[in-house]
């Protein structure tokens, strides 16, 4: 069945302002897996996700479930892929239910008037994300954690098979980060979603990713299991960070260390 075909990205390239920010990226992700994308600021994680979502133009192929997303009509693509942007635009005076229903846009007819089925689906997704009884509130008046769940709800009612998350928890405190990521993981397992997520926090990236890819200057330099990539020497080379890495099975936790930080940095002055 098409649903279980892997995501296959071949030779993806993105140019922004004359600079190649994503360079010849090829990746395979098994259907239903969670790939965590890591890499320093400006390494191209965001651009890669935005290219797959069709927000910015790109060269290459992104084969998913029997079609090349790069050649797919925007409306059809929006029925397959949804993205949780890094900094979503939240318009003023828009109610939660209306905001979440925007996710149904690629399924609606000309007048963009949601049907009763669209509403029921949205309400049940809200239930799944602990957002019951919040339909009538303004999105702008919610807390950070609630707002992030509303945005994820919008991307889930798009009924995607591929969910892209662009540093979805950067603005949240630790507890809300875990809450949001657990909810996404729950939905991934329940619906068989394939998830591609850029991460700032490497510990979270390793804990939720079933696999991981490291981007440096727009290129994938390593891909594999989190504990294979997240080593003390790689983190020093790529991030210029002085850390100790603790392995716990496939998962990894990373603890920053103080002391000879500047020395360590100057030893590896090639940031890529």
């Amino acid at each position: 069945m098409a649903l279980y075909e892997p995501l296959n990205i071949q030779g993806l390239e993105v140019e922004l302002g004359g600079k190649k920010v994503v360079n010849n990226v090829s990746l395979n992700v098994e259907s239903g897996d969670w790939l965590s994308l890591i890499g320093p600021n400006g390494s191209g994680k965001s651009s890669l996700l935005r290219a797959i979502a069709g927000i910015i133009p790109a060269l290459g192929t992104v084969n998913f479930q029997g079609s090349d997303l790069m050649q797919t009509d925007p409306r059809v693509r929006a029925q397959i892929v949804s993205i949780v942007p890094q900094i979503p635009v939240v318009p003023p005076r828009v109610r939660v239910i209306d905001y979440i229903l925007l996710g149904r846009t690629p399924y609606l007819g000309r007048g963009f008037q949601p049907t009763q089925e669209d509403v029921s689906l949205s309400l049940s997704v809200m239930e799944d994300l602990n957002l019951h009884d919040m339909a009538d509130r303004f999105v702008t008046e919610m807390s950070g954690g609630e707002r992030q769940r509303v945005i994820i709800a919008r991307s889930l009612v798009q009924q995607p098979n591929l969910l892209l998350l662009d540093e979805p928890t950067t603005a949240l405190d630790m507890g809300h980060q875990q809450e949001v990521l657990e909810l996404v993981d729950q939905q991934r397992k329940r619906l068989g979603l394939t998830v591609l997520s850029a991460f700032h926090d490497l510990t979270l990236a390793s804990q939720y990713g079933t696999s991981m890819a490291l981007l440096v200057n727009g290129e994938v330099t390593q891909s594999g299991l989190p504990h294979e990539i997240l080593t003390e020497s790689t983190l020093e080379d790529i991030y210029g960070a002085n850390v100790s890495v603790h392995n716990d099975g496939n998962r990894v936790s990373i603890v920053p260390k103080r002391g000879n930080r500047l020395k360590g940095n100057s030893n590896s002055n090639d940031m890529g």
Binding site: I55, P92, R93, D98, L101, G103, P106, G111, F112
Partner: protein, 355 residues
Amino acid sequence: MDNNKKKQQQEAPAELTSGLVAGAFVILFASILVSLLFGPVSIRPDRIFLEVLSRFPGISIDSGLSTIQEAIVWDVRLPRIVLGLIVGGLLAVAGASYQGVFRNPLADPYLLGVAAGAGLGATIAIVSGATNGEGIFDALPIAAFLGSAIAVAITLAVGGAVGRSTSTASLLLAGVAVASLFTAIQTYIQQRESATLRQVYSWILGRLSTSGWDEVIMILPYAAISLIVMFSMKGALDVLAVGEEEALSLGIRPRRVRWIVIGAASLAAASAVAVSGLIAFVGIIVPHAVRLVVGASNRLVVPLSFFIGASFLILTDLLARTLQSPAELPIGVVTAFFGAPFFLFVLRRRSDGII
């Protein structure tokens, strides 16, 4: 059970319910009726009311109006009311559309050079003495329309070419520059032909004067086309509210939506200006007043703005022609004088104050 119903209401999406439509129609018909009943020529309102009733099929009453009085009601007051309905509706819907597409609460229908272009066109027509024709043959509205169309076309050509980015800022800046240029030329011409200053000035302040149904017939096709297009894009504007990038990821083509809406709204504004001059404030306050009542969804704001804009202009025109009768106040003065305090009042009542 009551709780359940309340919950259902809270969970209902923004939708133009039949209740809202009925309410809008009631407001509009009430405005039309009031404006038919009163005017500078005093005719007994109760007789006009009977006269209106007698025109409904199946009702035959003798209203007791003389032929001249009947003519005043049907051939003087009614065309002017219908013109106010169309112009007010156009300006309000164009304002709502501009605000949606630019995601800016201060956007108004004259934004991209419509006002300055119409002003220059009208000035040229007045100065060259080409305004002696009657109704459809009068050069003034045609010149004003052409002026705004040219100004907006320049703005779009320049601003659109610069603005390959997803931002609309370059378009707005181009609009400001084009408006300055056209206003400068207009001022220059006016200075040289100071005898026509008064006429140009009175045109700029706006008026809804009609000669029979000519103006209505003239504006009707443009009004119909632009309204149909703007109404059809109202849902897309809601998607655009989350920005062009997210709109793209939701399967919309934001640039196409933007050009279509800007084109239709500019056509609406230009045709309104051509027959009525520069009527201030309708395009800004009406959509905002609607938004404060029904929320931000353009699926509601765009169509309801038509009814409220139409009613608002019909009623302000009633004031404009009766307050100092037989003299007429410029309608632009009345819309601003009554519109601004009303708007401040509504704004104050909403404690959140967010538009």
